[in-house]
Amino acid sequence: MTYSALKLLTEGLKGHKTWPQAWRDPAPKSHYDVVIIGGGGHGLATAYYLAKVHGVRNIAVVERGWIGGGNTGRNTTIVRSNYRLPPMQALMEFSLKLWEGMSLDLNFNVMFSPRGALFLGHSDSDMLQLAQRGDAMEAAGITAELMSLAEVKKLCPLLDTSTLARFPIQGGLIQRRGGTARHDAVAWGYARAADALGVDILQNCEVTGIVRQGGRVVGVETSKGRIGADRVGICVAGNSGRVAALADLRLPIESHLLQAFVSEPVKPMLDTVVMSQSLHCYISQSDKGEIVLGGNPDQYPTYSQRGSPHRIEEAATEAMALIPALSRLRMLRSWAGTTDMSFDGAPILDATSVEGLYLNGGWCYGGFKATPGSGYLYAHLLAKGVNHAVAAPFRLDRFETGHTIDEAGAGPMPQNR
């Protein structure tokens, strides 16, 4: 079934009672060509592109909870490709191009809203770094605009642009093609499109073991029994280390925690994504009108998905200093996600030492924007056994060989980036 304006009208006249289910709830088969562990955006996108681009039909996505219940449904949904290092630029730009056509491709409105991603500069050094980043982007063919204070003020009148501001603003750098998307819709859109191509989405099914025979993967143990597989793709974000440990692997990844918050919904007041070169605070307004806020990670390893209040206080303080009008809003909810912090801040997309077992992880706190690209590239790896050129630098052994991709230049301690 194709969603359309006409369909919406006819179903609406029937009181929205007869919409078909968006995806099936199948029982696991005994064997699949490919099993993808993790039903977040990345895993579901991988299944979709495997089926669509590579014609693989016998695929399962195995999710221990409900699809999109991990970081996909917990993130602040900022999409951009304003990176400095060429491998990251190529990856995120590849992904951004897919975002631009995603709703049409999936026949599902993911509400991708390229409303502009603005980084504020608060000092000469901030402005220099923003200019460097902009130059690096331009050199890679990604448009960036350095903005004066007057331009920033015009774009975002509610920002405190006075010289007496707690964090005085000197200017900014904007990527106009950046923006936000609706996180749940991304999971649902990929799930529905993958299901239509025959992919089995197995929810409430936890992978508890990775079955090997002579150094080769042959399946997974799950809470619903053993499922055979020729190839298995790990795609579990903050749980990458735990799932890899099922195959006796240790990863250059540490699991940390990032929080986010939303306010009560208000009328449109902010039509750009506001970030900062110096502060760890990012602000946008959702389509429902809520102000979405994110801050610093909690900066110690944890799987708890429960953050500390002092981070909330810090992010709220910074946000109110940037946009004083926010002080009048009540916060509705706060939550946290377990992020897979790699030891150079860049993701890992590679085969592992176990034949047939692949890894997609290490997206840290920035992998939502990569969802379509990550899925497309991981599908390529799972189908062909070798990486697509864009994914080639994101090797698992780069830490040992010294080929790290360290955008922040922060080294192997995730709390420093």
Binding site: G241, R242, R250, L251, P252, I253, E254, S255, Q299, Y300, P301, T302, Y303, S304, R306, S308, P309, H310, F343, F399, E400, P412, M413, Q415
Partner: protein, 85 residues
């Protein structure tokens, strides 16, 4: 919020402390490359009890090791680094 009992100052709020690294990632100056790679890049990333190095940065600034459960945030076995106080 975690409460950490500093061996010198007693129970203090988490935001006075800084996590440094799991004890397994404390490297020796003369370690060979293989050992360094293993210690820095192939850590356990445990879900459960983990022995870690922390510092009371916004307090007495002393270092300590402690065992913290990364799933429940329960903390025990706080010990000063560098012997008795």
């Amino acid at each position: 919020m975690m409460l950490i009992t500093c061996p010198h100052c007693g129970p203090r709020a988490l935001d006075e402390f800084v996590f440094d690294r799991p004890v397994e990632a404390i490297t020796a100056p003369d370690a060979d490359t293989q050992t360094l790679v293993a210690q820095l890049y192939k850590r356990t990333n445990a879900r459960g009890p983990s022995r870690e190095l922390w510092r009371h940065s916004l307090g007495c600034r002393s270092w300590m090791t402690l065992v913290r459960d990364t799933a429940t945030h329960q903390i025990c076995d706080v010990e000063p680094v560098g012997g008795a106080r």
